[in-house]
Symmetry: C2
Subunit: 318 residues, 2 copies
């Protein structure tokens, strides 16, 4: 179906030397062997490539066309092995992975172990950055790969949406919203939720959930990390929304906290892995996305019990 690269080498050699014997010498094979391979290349499409014009052979028009393409192919093939050999053995570079702070503490630890196992020759550097900073670094090329939550401005980037993780309401047991009763998104409208500091996308997402029902939450205090946020809830300052992947790490028994999932269309956020459209490692990053997606299945399985329907971290198909 396809000619061999070696056969193409023979054809090019004949074209360049104008002789079968000389070409055979150059290719370090016997002349009959070369003749036979050349003939096969001619027979495959049923075309004469060479005009046997003593005392030399000349190219036919198709021959010229084929030889031109063939030498291009050979050059690219040689480049391929060269590029591959260049990155043999040695460290195959370091990938700078940017992660937003509301994902990093929960998504990363297990993931990095998996990645190191799969790609031992690659280094991974982690940068914890807020969404807009992460996007700047991604576009500037100081970060290669970004793990963040939608929505964001994705021009110049491409990637793969991994999972939708639902939000879970976390409230002090003493809080009105803490009473064990079914809740809906509308129930948190106007509630005085504790929020992340300005600049964290989780803050905007929480506000969004409330805004859906009309009223943005009025709040006075804010936290710089999810962990702090939970401590504040623990202190009875008010309820908050947590992404499901944070529950296992942040909820401990005997904290006086109630976690409750939503009954209706569960609010949630989409986590996505992004890279520059121009990145040469797109195909590889796709694979990392797959690993990440599976990693979130593990996180889903490790999720603690909450009141209401069990929140599901839902995989998205590529």
């Amino acid at each position: 179906m396809l000619p061999t690269l070696r056969q193409l080498e023979y054809v090019v050699a004949v074209a360049e030397t104008g002789q079968f014997v000389e070409a055979a010498r150059r290719c370090a094979v016997s002349q009959p062997a070369l003749s036979r391979q050349v003939r096969e290349v001619e027979e495959l499409p049923g075309v004469r490539l060479f005009a046997r014009a003593r005392p030399r052979v000349l190219l036919t028009p198709v021959g010229a066309e084929v030889v031109g393409r063939a030498s291009g192919l050979l050059a690219q093939a040689r480049e391929l092995v060269e590029v591959a050999a260049a990155s043999a053995g040695a460290r195959q570079g370091t990938v700078r992975l940017g992660v937003i702070p509301t994902i990093a503490p929960y998504g990363l630890p297990g993931l990095l172990a998996k990645l190191r196992g799969l790609f031992p020759e690659v280094g991974f550097a982690i940068h914890e950055l807020q969404t807009h900073v992460l996007l700047d670094h991604l576009r500037a090329g100081t970060v290669d790969l970004g793990l963040l939550a939608r929505p964001f401005d994705d021009h110049g980037l491409q990637g793969r949406d991994l999972v939708v993780e639902p939000f879970v309401l976390v409230a002090p047991a003493t809080h009105p919203l803490g009473v064990p009763e079914a809740i809906r998104a509308a129930d948190v409208a106007g509630a005085s939720l504790l929020l992340m500091d300005d600049g964290h996308c989780l803050r905007d997402q929480a506000i969004d959930v409330c805004a859906v029902a009309g009223a943005p939450p009025a709040t006075l205090v804010s936290a710089a990390s999810v962990s702090t946020l939970v401590r504040m809830v623990e202190s009875g300052l008010g309820p908050t929304l947590l992404p499901a992947s944070a529950l296992a790490a942040e909820l401990r028994p005997g904290q006086g906290l109630v976690a409750r999932s939503f009954l209706d269309a569960q609010p949630g956020r989409t986590l996505t892995l992004q890279w520059r459209t121009t990145s040469p490692y797109g195909a590889w990053f796709e694979g990392i996305g797959t690993v990440l997606g599976e990693h979130y299945l593990d996180l889903d399985a490790a999720m603690p019990e909450v009141a209401g329907p069990r929140p599901r971290i839902r995989m998205l198909e590529p």
Copy 2:
């Protein structure tokens, strides 16, 4: 030294399916056979292309790079055989060959026979055109290949200089220059040579020969073809310069003509084969140039006796 195209197919199939078994099915080989070939591609440069991550295999960074290049190679290879197969059997197009009038009657007949023998599947259309018209057609693409004499403006063209053919003085036996005596270029300076019509490069070349010695020839009559020119010389109107390749056809015994070569640095003209730099058939045209050069060796051998040193049509190396 180089991977097989088939091996690259296997690698690409594994990358696309993410499975060895599925890839083997797609390639219509057994799974162990495919595994082995993939391993060889990995061993050649000493690189891991795939991370065996159950339940699928993932690309490594080098793997992604290699697979990208490999699929490009495969696409080009398929295109190569497709292009070749498309021009199989059927007529492989027609080459429009432009020739200047002072070459055509002498250079062409034998050449066409040779070309038809070498390239039976190609048609040759001949266009007899003066240099400047020929150049216009060449650049416009209405002529593919031009056979002409230097000098000319060759921008946008490339080609191969074939031969230098000397000029020979042809004079009536009764003419002063017809006396059997050694002549030099200086002897024709100021001579009243018969010339071709304006527009024929042979006219300019003859004038050049005279101008070298200082004085352009003063002449009153001119001819539209070399044949007419010789008839005029025969009528005693004066001498002229002929290119050596025309002698065999134009000089017959008993015409009362004397042909005489030059003693010193023989004046002559360089014949060249030209085509557009953008032509995809450059490599083929080179071959046609070779055939043409050899054809001129035949013409040289067929040259009749002339007074003075035997004029030599001299081959130029490519």
